[in-house]
Amino acid sequence: MRTVKSKLNVVTLVFVGALLMVTFSLSVSGIAAEEQVTLKVILPANPEGEVIKQCIPKFEEETGIKVDLTDVAVEQLDTKITVELYTGAKTADVIGGPYDWMPKYSKYLLPLDEYLTDQDREDFLPAALGAMTIDDKILGLPFAWTCMILFYRTDLFEEKNLQVPKTWEEHLAVAEALTQKDAGIWGTIVTAKNTEEPVGMLLNYIYQNGGDVIDDNNNITLNSPEAIEALQFMYDLVYKFKVAPPGASNYWCIDTLNLFNGGKLATAPNWSFMYGIANSDDTGLKGKIGMSLLPIKKRQAVSLGGWSLYAPNYTEHPKEAFEFIHFMTNTWAQSEMAIRGSNTPSRKSTMADYPEIKANPLFVVMFDALSYSIPRTKYPHYRELQVILSEALSGCLAGTITPEEALNKAASEYEKVINEPYEL
């Protein structure tokens, strides 16, 4: 009896003591929190997010605002952002994510219009700021914007005295001339992994053949003859003409990068980030990389890709959140993103203050390409469309369904999403 009583007394004492300690430390940290703002920031764990990470110390030094950073793998980013915004978990004051996901989250995002000065609005390139505008509100600022261009091996072209292709037919001819199966070298590559990124390549081919996802009257044109012809061409590059490696249905931009760096690709449609990595001493390709606009069939057009920073509208630090977003998209940060991440600046001042960036052969091509870019935010429910198209694309390139079946199915599913939308 005495033993049990004394045990209970000990337990009670320990419990109360622990409770007091926890309460005390929480109140101390609460007091400390009042004195200094700490921003909770979610960033993607990719090359672009890495550049932002490297800019954080300068932000903290200049503003006195501390940053509590969470890196999230790109595959988990959608879950993280959706759960955060839907539940109002308040684990983020600033989020870095693909700009084309912003419409899905738009009702949870802080409009930045009131914080942006006229000077800022003038400084951003219209296409860049336009892509961030949803329902006439600027919901984010672009920290990395990009599109696909054609990378090619200048040494291989010179050997065979080939010209840079401007059309699909020329590209096919060049790819056939440069494909050496015995040496494991392919003329080009098609990417169709069942994930979001390769959808950009499909959209490029559709645009270049004069097609689109929806027309001016908002009718779905995913399964138009132009779109089906475009997907058929992608399929033929792999299976009919055999100028692209056969594993297309599981390739994405990183495979393009690895194969190009390994000397296995003569030409490679890919995002601009590839240039900095491929044109380094490690790959042996330094100085042997040429860049041009993607070859076309009927019109010059390319899908706009990119990442932006946005803030939940329930953040307790809206001004500080904007300060972070503004800092990471200012003239200097854009120069860092250009130099370290090979992403095109979206500010005119960056190009003016850093002439070496404007003169960089990558950005000469990128500025041209981006002038033909089509933002994905123009499509309703783009996030859902990405998933629908990625499944259709990978199924087609695996040979399980024809291009027509794939795009008919995609169009039908997209129509269902538009007519019966789910609200997050």
């Binding site: 049990v4 045990k7 209970l8 337990v11 793998a73 595959e75 959608d78 879950t79 959706t82 759960v83 839907y86 899905k104 494991g184 169709a192 992994k193 069942n194 994930t195 490696p245 056969p246 594993g247 297309a248 249905s249 599981n250 390739y251 495979d255 690895n258 194969l259 390994g262 296995k264 996030r383 859902e384 998933v387 990625s390 499944e391 259709a392 990978s394 199924g395 087609c396 390139l397 695996a398 399980t400 369904i401 999403v417 789910y422 609200e423 997050l424």
Partner: protein, 293 residues
């Protein structure tokens, strides 16, 4: 006698008080777990019955009538049956082989390596290994003049690759459980069987297998639950593709709930997933405890 009776009563009383103390000590953890587990489950259940018009079974009807759900359910059942059966067989064979090896402890350490690595990290490693152009496995096969398959780009091979990767990650667990069970087998029945002239196969069939039944059932229960919820390796290796060849229910529920923003449908799908798991688990647990009784 009286003293014994008094001592017994005192012991019982002390036992009850210790039980109360133990309960009190465990109570904070029980409350925390109940909140962390019960609240999300409750939220999910309520969401699954919520529609724009109120509460109904509409979300469930919508999912059950969707072709992609029935296809994915079949796919997931195929994954579960194939992976669990092969794991049980391979795990038992390896555990039996290791019984008679002197350096089995070194092998045991080697086999636990996949268990120490996160499944996502393992999946990324396999993604590089299985790449048809620059993967190490494809290189080795080409060196042996064998044309490597499109491990992740062909629908059938992608299915097989997911099976291989998941087995690589989890078979060590099966081996360890069987090894522990084998190490605790009673010796006397085997000695009697030896005296009676039983062959190795007879001893295995009539002694080892029945003794290993509880271990079988435990592994079957745990691995069935694990594989039915397969997600990490599929997301990294194939994204559910090519097309939907390797789609699993977990990935479909994720896409429905998170990507499409249909949290109600995603919740309904997640709860539908638990029904076959619940039934399978109850059957296995009853079989385990039936033997103990």
């Amino acid at each position: 006698m009286e003293i014994t009776s008094i001592n017994f009563q005192k012991t019982q009383s002390l036992g009850r008080k210790n039980a109360r103390l133990a309960f009190l000590l465990a109570l904070p953890a029980i409350i925390l777990i109940a909140l962390v587990v019960a609240y999300p489950i409750g939220f999910s259940v309520v969401k699954s019955f919520t529609t724009r018009e109120g509460y109904s079974l509409k979300n469930y009807k919508s999912i059950l009538s969707d072709n992609s759900f029935s296809f994915t359910l079949l796919n997931t059942i195929k994954f579960t049956l194939i992976i669990v059966i092969i794991e049980l067989v391979i795990g038992l064979i390896v555990a039996l082989c290791l019984q008679n090896i002197k350096i089995r402890n070194s092998f045991r350490a080697l086999f636990t390596i996949p268990l120490l690595v996160s499944p996502v990290v393992s999946s990324y490693a396999w993604m590089w290994l299985l790449n048809d152009q620059y993967g190490l496995i494809s290189h080795i096969l080409k060196f042996m003049k064998i044309t490597p398959p499109l491990w992740l780009a062909n629908p059938n091979w992608a299915f097989i690759s997911i099976v291989i990767v998941d087995m690589w990650i989890a078979t060590p667990f099966v081996i360890i459980v069987f090894q522990s069970a084998l190490a605790s087998l009673p010796k006397s029945p085997y000695e009697s069987a030896e005296i009676d002239g039983a062959s190795s196969i007879q001893k295995f069939r009539y002694l080892t297998l029945p003794f290993l039944k509880p271990a079988f059932l435990v592994i079957l229960t745990i691995r069935t639950m694990d594989v039915f919820r397969i997600y990490d390796s599929i997301v990294v290796l194939t994204g559910g593709g090519p097309g939907n060849a390797t789609m699993s229910l977990s990935l479909l529920a994720f896409r429905t709930g998170i990507t499409f923003g249909n949290l109600k449908g995603g919740s309904a799908m997640s709860l539908l997933m638990t029904i076959p798991l619940f039934i399978a688990t109850i059957i296995c647990i009853r079989a385990i405890f039936k033997d103990e009784i």
